[in-house]
Symmetry: C2
Subunit: 214 residues, 2 copies
DNA sequence: GTCAGATCGTTACCATGGGTAATAACAAGT
DNA sequence: ACTTGTTATTACCCATGGTAACGATCTGAC
């Protein structure tokens, strides 16, 4: 990713926009999603109105930021999804890619998923247009498409694929979120556990002594 | 009639707290999670400082509200989880209970899960202490416990159960969220699709023509 | 040279909304 | 009646998103 290099054929406005986004990124990474527009403007060496000229409102800025990171993550996931290996391996690779990403940059992840975080002064923190849902929905749709394209699911293929796409993404997200907080095991282990779940081990497992199992 | 309305002789702090919570509930249901403390106070027939005396800050109020609804939902889920039927049936009943709940009261659901919503004036909307994660984590832990208690998972039982608990809850949540937005099918159908996913149908399905499947 | 007009930028300001003194009613115990 | 503790109110602080009005600067045309 050549974010910093001086791009040749870009209008000054586009260049500026990129610079502003990077400044915003730094601030958000440092201060969390509650970063104020003033702080971002200061980091960029300018003042608020310019930010508003470029991004409309705070939601616009955050959306631009989110899109940027989401694109990067999606690209990585697509690579894992498109690898020429067996299905189980592919699923594990995808899960691992996602988890590795959120492990490597938890701040970015928290920004994308959990808009608010601190409440030092008196405001709580801003959500600004709910960018978490877009990311998850995008991932869900993407996965649904891959499933629909490649897995033979009979007549209800389309519908099933979408349900599964969103379901699996949600599973990955929730498990990852919990794992990131508690770190109860290695990443590889988590990946195996989740793949096992997807592979129907819950259905296959026997009941425990004392009654019918879940 | 003075400000409080029809109160006989009931000045207990707990009663008041309950009344305030109900007023807050009405406002949040009407105006969404972005409801201001002033609005809530007005609905309750009192003023801000009283709310702050009772709940500390906005996060406290919203947390109290969330706990209340979460408790109700959890109770319903526990009933489905504890039914004396077979595992698959139980899983379907639990999924259906959850989905029926969010279908019946989407406003409540959105409040619990998606803190922000509108941005009429100029602020975006407040998250206030992230009450969505607590709900999901609580559900995840609860389910993990049920799984660990009743399913025989071998040596890693504990760990597996927690991963699965959070994973399944996340799957349910994400799929439900998407379903609620797009309504692509009947609830029963969604339940079946999700249960199928949990039952390993993804692993069992064949590849589509043209290459290895996901 | 100088003037019109986009850009790019700043200061000063508004409105909203969370949160908190300072203070007023008012009940009861003495 | 005097004190005391609870309850509620008014009036305020202050941070933040968002904007209007104004200034600087660079470009090309005449």
């Amino acid at each position: 990713m050549d974010t910093t290099g001086q791009d040749e054929r870009l209008s000054t406005a586009e260049r500026r926009r990129g610079e502003l986004l990077e400044a915003a990124d730094r601030v958000v990474l440092r201060e969390g999603p509650g970063a104020s527009m003033n702080a971002i403007a200061a980091e960029a060496g300018i003042t608020k109105p310019i930010l508003y000229r470029h991004f409309g409102d705070k939601g616009g800025l955050y959306r631009a930021l989110a899109v940027r990171h989401t694109d990067a993550l999606l690209e990585a996931l697509r690579a894992a999804l498109d690898a020429p290996s067996e299905r189980r391996e592919r699923v594990e690779a995808t899960l691992d890619t996602y988890l590795a990403a959120i492990e490597a940059r938890p701040q970015v992840y928290r920004f994308l998923m959990h808009p608010a975080e601190d409440s030092t002064t008196g405001e709580g923190a801003f959500d600004v247009g709910q960018h978490s849902a877009p990311l998850l929905r995008r991932l869900g749709e993407e996965l649904a498409q891959v499933i629909a394209e490649r897995v033979d699911l009979g007549p209800e293929s389309e519908e099933l694929a979408r349900v599964w796409g969103h379901g699996i993404v949600g599973m990955m997200h929730a498990a990852g979120d919990w794992w990131l907080r508690e770190r109860p095991c290695e990443r590889a282990q988590l990946v195996r556990h989740l793949a096992d779940l997807l592979w129907g081990r819950l259905a296959a497992a026997g009941d425990r002594v004392g009654g019918p199992g879940f």
